[in-house]
């Protein structure tokens, strides 16, 4: 929290904005990347979205009111950027977004930047069958170890609703793995 306050002070002062931004990237780049990567799947796309996310953060940092954590605010921008990106890609391919996601997953085995074995491939297929919100909640809770109240800040959803989403997500994934493995 202290780190966030220092960063924010640097970012909102024009003379230290660039230094502050460098520090912000250093602190959050990996977490932001992995969050985006799990949504857009491909490394190259994740790289594009990550860069756009940081640029958006840089341009809009003066508008950050501080009514939520900086971390949550950035996560929200990253999530929106990634979802917008994948919707746009699906539209370009004249596909429904869930079909497009399935298409991405089916190409994973030939992806240079995927080293998963069969079970990890099945897990990605299982995640792709979930509704968008459940996908996000599962990835953020299971892989990123975020707390419900943090996810609640990011996705603007109540903790109760998130718990229910997570419950349904893990149940479906368990069932999918049992069926296909």
């Amino acid at each position: 929290m202290t780190e966030e306050i220092t960063l924010l002070a640097q970012l909102q002062n024009p003379t230290t904005k660039e230094v502050g931004f460098r520090n912000l990237i250093q602190a959050y780049k990996e977490r932001m990347y992995w969050h985006i990567r799990k949504i857009v799947i491909s490394h190259d796309d994740a790289d594009d979205v990550l860069q756009n996310t940081f640029i958006k953060i840089f341009k809009n940092i003066d508008n950050f009111k501080g009514d939520s954590k900086l971390y949550s605010w950035m996560y929200r921008i990253a999530t929106n950027e990634a979802i917008t990106f994948i919707n746009k890609k699906a539209k370009e391919q004249h596909q429904d977004v869930s079909d497009y996601k399935h298409h991405l997953i089916s190409n994973l085995n030939s992806d240079l930047w995927f080293s998963g074995d069969e079970i990890q491939y099945i897990l990605q297929q299982a995640i792709a069958t979930l509704p968008e919100k459940q996908q996000l909640v599962f990835n953020m809770k299971y892989f990123d170890d975020l707390k419900y109240h943090e996810i609640s800040d990011i996705l603007s959803t109540s903790v109760g609703a998130l718990k229910a989403s997570y419950f349904h997500a893990v149940k479906k994934i368990e069932q999918f793995i049992k069926t296909y493995n």
């Binding site: 931004f21 640029i55 997570y166």
Partner: protein
Amino acid sequence: MDKETKHSIDFINKKINKKNGFIIPDNYFDKLDDDLQVIINQNSLPEEHNFEVPKTYFDTLENEILSKVETTSSRKPKVLLLRKKIIQYIPNAVAASVMLIIASYFYFNSNDVTTHNFNTTDIEDWFDEDYNTISSDELAILFTADDFTEDELSVKVNNDNLEEYLNTIDSSNLIEELQ
């Protein structure tokens, strides 16, 4: 619900152990800092370019382009008829063929190697005109000793002429030539 969730999570953990199989290129995150720095620097550049256009330029542009388009489209495209084109080339083709036949006739029926006879005057003229370009080897091929009289080959200089000639020569030029 929590108990059931935990049960399912235990199952998933056992199967995949929180690994998703995604990997990234080596040094990706190091490079990312530089990439973003470039983008930020780009973004901090002024967006205005300060070039000016005449006030009514964009108002009149549309009409100007349209008028050119109309002028261009109103011109009738030139149609070239293949038949006409072929007929146009027939006389040339015939003339070329006749020339070829005549040239072939003379070429294949002539076994003589053309020789030219030069008289001495020709050679002298040529020698006078092209003196500077003649090498001593060429001269040796062209002339034999019989072509010259004894008088022409001997050098007769009296002492007075020689002295006068030597006085006209700049000594520094002479030294340079001797070197």
